[in-house]
């Protein structure tokens, strides 16, 4: 190696060391900027993958489609805490690799979210053929501006909800970053709390990121509201080349191996010993069942209530952005009527703000609120826990509701409803079945998703659950902290497979009952 090359290598190494050193103790501003930038990068990379995977899912409507959905959604449903725990030994304490690993894992985990968002977003009012036709007749500058306007109203508006959700989910990242010790604004606030930063100072610091998320959330909801509601009821087969399909399958395999495979393998090693220990402790098994049902009941309650509140928020927002008042600037609608509508819509959307602070700050604020003389009597009851979960889930519920509840009744739903009112019992039955598939089933899955988020949230359970009632997730973290792989494996298996088993048992009954 020449002297110059050696010097260059030494400079690069010193730079890398200096950069790693900086990553170990970053300021809040730097953590915030990096979290935002990383979320942008992840969003930009994830978006085309989401679109390609969504097309792959829509290839046909055969029985294999269900398995394709499982393949896509699995990595998102696998608990983040176990993913972080599995990769912490490799990356924690090595700032550079930890950042790369955290970003890669986040990317793999957010793609399913983007796929669902993309498929749920109503199709654009501006069809690709309309856009193409307009493009053919570009003569003047005004034509070009008009084409640009159409482009924004069409493809861009359709992409915004997915992009917003991808960004928010990446930006809110906490557990993975905390376990791998990557930089994130949420983990920064946690560490500062341990060091003694006051709640008021923490809330003040979090205002910036919360406002940022709120703006992005509004943007996403507004874009969903702007999109056409009458999405095609029949899935049109989408053409994809064999190479693209092979690439997508390869991507999904890689996603499963990294996000589910390796964490499962590393935990499975301790499973036999853990289960052996567990079966010899009947009291512990009883406690575990109790924790499972308590966590699940709190999550179901909070998810259902958040879903109901989101309906009111959603309709207020829809009223505020309804065609007559805003979009078409109908001269018959006076500004006196528009402004209160907007205020009401915005006012209800502000209910989402507490949830955007993240569960740690939200939990601490509720602990402080329920320690005041007026609310003290409720402190050691399930009320603070459920309230914390509702507020935590509300922003997600509002966004999900924006997708699931269309602005106007879709044609297919209208026809299903007509069938339900038919005098022929068979037609009524068909109508009910159709109504379930078109309306109730998506709502059921939305509430199930919210329940899942609430069930796995540690912080609200840890800070707010009353004595005599806690969620099993708290104990999982205790085992992780002390490196108890065997006990962690066994209890994680029970606490994670338990709700799935309950859901599997309940699902046929729900389907039968509703249809």
């Amino acid at each position: 190696m020449t002297f110059a090359a050696a010097l260059g290598w030494s400079d690069i190494r010193n730079l890398a060391i200096a950069l790693e050193d900086r990553l170990r103790a970053v300021s809040f501003a730097a953590a915030l900027e990096w979290s935002g930038l990383r979320a942008v990068l992840i969003t930009v990379i994830a978006f085309p993958i989401c679109v390609a995977v969504a097309k792959w899912l829509q290839r046909d409507d055969g029985p294999r489609r269900r398995w394709r959905w499982v393949a896509v959604l699995g990595p998102f449903l696998f608990p983040e805490l176990l993913v972080g725990y599995a990769y912490a030994p490799q990356y924690a304490g090595r700032p550079g690799p930890a950042e790369a690993a955290c970003a890669a894992l986040m990317l793999l985990r957010v793609v399913p979210v983007g796929v669902v968002a993309w498929l749920l977003t109503p199709t654009s009012m501006v069809t690709p053929s309309a856009l193409y036709c307009r493009r053919l007749s570009l003569r003047t500058w005004r034509d070009r501006v008009d084409w640009l306007r159409l482009w924004f109203a069409g493809p861009v508006t359709s992409a915004i909800p997915t992009l917003s959700l991808l960004w928010i989910v990446s930006f809110q990242q906490f557990e993975l970053a905390a376990l791998i010790r990557a930089v994130s604004w949420s983990d920064w606030l946690f560490v500062q709390q341990v060091g003694g930063l006051s709640l008021a100072a923490s809330l003040q610091a979090a205002i910036g990121p919360v406002v940022g998320q709120f703006v992005v959330l509004m943007l996403g909801i507004a874009a969903v509201a702007q999109s056409a509601d009458d999405a095609p009821a029949v899935i049109t087969p989408v053409h994809q080349s064999q190479v693209t399909r092979a690439l997508i399958v390869a991507y999904l395999v890689e996603q499963w191996v990294i996000v589910i495979g390796w964490p499962t393998v590393s935990l499975a090693a301790g499973l036999p010993a853990g289960l052996q220990q567990l079966v010899t402790q009947p009291l512990r098994m009883q406690g575990l069942a109790r924790e499972l049902f308590a966590g699940l009941a709190a999550a179901v309650l909070a998810a259902s209530v958040a879903w109901l509140i989101a309906r009111s928020v959603g309709s207020a927002v829809r009223t505020a952005t309804s065609d007559g008042s805003v979009r078409t600037a109908d001269p018959t609608v006076s500004s006196d009527r528009i402004l209160p509508r907007w205020r009401s819509g915005l006012g209800q959307l502000l209910l989402c703000l507490p949830g955007l602070f993240g569960s740690l700050l939200l939990g601490l604020a509720l602990v402080a609120a329920f320690q005041t003389p007026m609310l003290r009597v409720l402190y050691n009851t399930p009320v603070p826990w459920v309230l914390g979960l509702i507020l935590y889930l509300l922003p997600r519920a509002v966004l999900l509701r924006a997708w699931v509840d269309p602005r106007r009744p879709r044609t297919a739903e209208f026809l299903a409803a007509q069938l339900m009112t038919s005098s022929d019992p068979q037609q009524q039955r068909h109508g009910r079945r159709l109504w379930w598939r078109l309306v109730e089933e998506p709502r059921f899955f939305a509430v199930a998703g919210l329940t899942y988020w609430g069930y796995l949230d540690l912080t609200t359970a840890y800070l707010l659950s009353p004595t005599g009632l806690t969620s099993g997730v708290v104990r999982l973290y205790n085992f992780m902290h002390f490196g108890r792989t065997a006990a962690l494996s066994a209890e994680a298996a029970v606490l994670l497979l338990g709700p799935l088993a309950i859901a599997a048992a309940v699902w046929p009954l729900v389907q039968k009952g509703r249809a």
Binding site: F190, A294, T467, V474, F482
Partner: protein, 346 residues
């Protein structure tokens, strides 16, 4: 068209609310007389060991316990801070902390009740508060865990490991648990500026800072790191699993760092008599022996009479007899915390 009413969601919410309320009423029994409700214990110690001890107390006394375990250093707030924040409406009756300095912090804030019972009487002065606000029992020692396939387990080898390529040395984040105590000891001995210098230098040379002592153990066992700072209980876990490791007690100024469990009664409890029974039980000879004979091999601090201890605990006990007195270290702990927090402040 059927209205988009709230039917199924509302029904689901009602069912979930009933289940939740039922579980709560059954577990916490809030409507019952306070004396018959479970005693609430906040426990910062490893659930695998502590739960067994606490269930034994339930068996012996018939008093039901409601235990809340810690999740600090993974994501949430530590129990010390939770007790601070609950000062207006305390839920906790007895706090079993796995270290001392956090308990001292609670004592300083006037959140602990004094009690000088049988357990307190049998402990040496170094491991109890003079007024009985807390009492120590079953301790851990700070040790070097060394992968013997990579290096030899002696003072000079670990000294060289730190002095040369620190990237193969691991430690837990110094803001938490026993590593915070370790830093407080170093701060007291070296002074804060020297500790800061040392800390930055080690970071610059790539020292691996990980979320907990358990992970330090895992890294050394896997051979990813050659050595690291951890506690005796983690090291024993690895030794029992047959890992090629050895332990070396860390000494500062010729003394070991012995970190006791501490137990204290929270001011505002309505169950003081029962809380005292639990304090006596935890600081008893039986509990110390149980902890010493468990796979954590915690070091008994009080008199254990003629009872025999496992050889490795006996050896540690000898080393522990010459350990640093942690009681005056609260200011050093707070200085370290403040420094680490403001290091990354905006």
């Amino acid at each position: 068209m059927p209205s988009r009413h709230a039917g199924p969601s509302a029904l689901l919410a009602v069912v979930a609310a009933l289940v939740l309320t039922g579980l709560w009423l059954n577990g916490a029994n809030p409507l019952a007389d306070p004396a018959s409700r479970p005693l609430v214990v906040y426990c910062a110690h490893d659930a695998v060991y502590s739960e067994e001890v606490l269930r034994e107390f339930e068996r012996q006394t018939g008093l039901p316990l409601d235990i809340r375990f810690d999740t600090e250093a993974t994501k949430s707030l530590g129990l010390v801070q939770l007790i601070e924040r609950e000062r207006q409406q305390p839920r906790c009756d007895v706090f079993w902390n796995n270290e001392l300095l956090g308990t001292l912090d609670l004592q300083k804030q006037g959140l602990l009740l004094p009690y000088q019972g049988d357990g307190w009487q049998r402990m040496p002065e170094q491991f109890r508060d003079a007024d009985g606000h807390w009492v120590g029992f079953g301790a851990r020692m700070r040790v070097w865990i060394v992968n013997t396939t990579a290096m030899s387990a002696d003072e000079s080898s670990v000294g060289w490991a730190l002095a040369l390529e620190a990237s193969r040395v691991a430690m837990a984040q110094p803001m938490f648990g026993t590593t915070l105590t370790h830093y407080a000891v170093m701060c007291d001995q070296l002074g804060l500026p020297t500790l800061q210098e040392l800390h930055r230098e080690l970071r610059r040379r790539g020292l691996r800072e990980v979320p907990g002592n358990g992970l330090v153990k895992d890294l050394v066992v896997a051979g990813t790191c050659d050595c690291g700072w951890t506690d005796t209980d983690d090291t024993f876990l690895a030794l029992d699993a047959g890992a090629p490791i050895a332990m070396l007690p860390i000494e500062v100024d010729g003394k070991t760092i012995v970190i006791p469990n501490t137990v204290a009664i929270i001011r505002g409890t309505q169950r003081e008599t029962d809380a005292r029974r639990l304090v006596d039980f935890l600081a008893s000879r039986e509990t110390e022996l149980r902890l010493a004979r468990s796979s954590a091999r915690q070091i008994p601090l009080g008199d254990i009479g003629d009872e025999s201890l496992p050889d490795d605990v006996e050896r540690l006990r000898l080393r522990a007899s010459h350990s640093i007195d942690l009681r005056p270290l609260l200011p050093a702990r707070n200085a370290v915390l403040e420094w680490l927090r403001t290091e990354s402040a905006p």
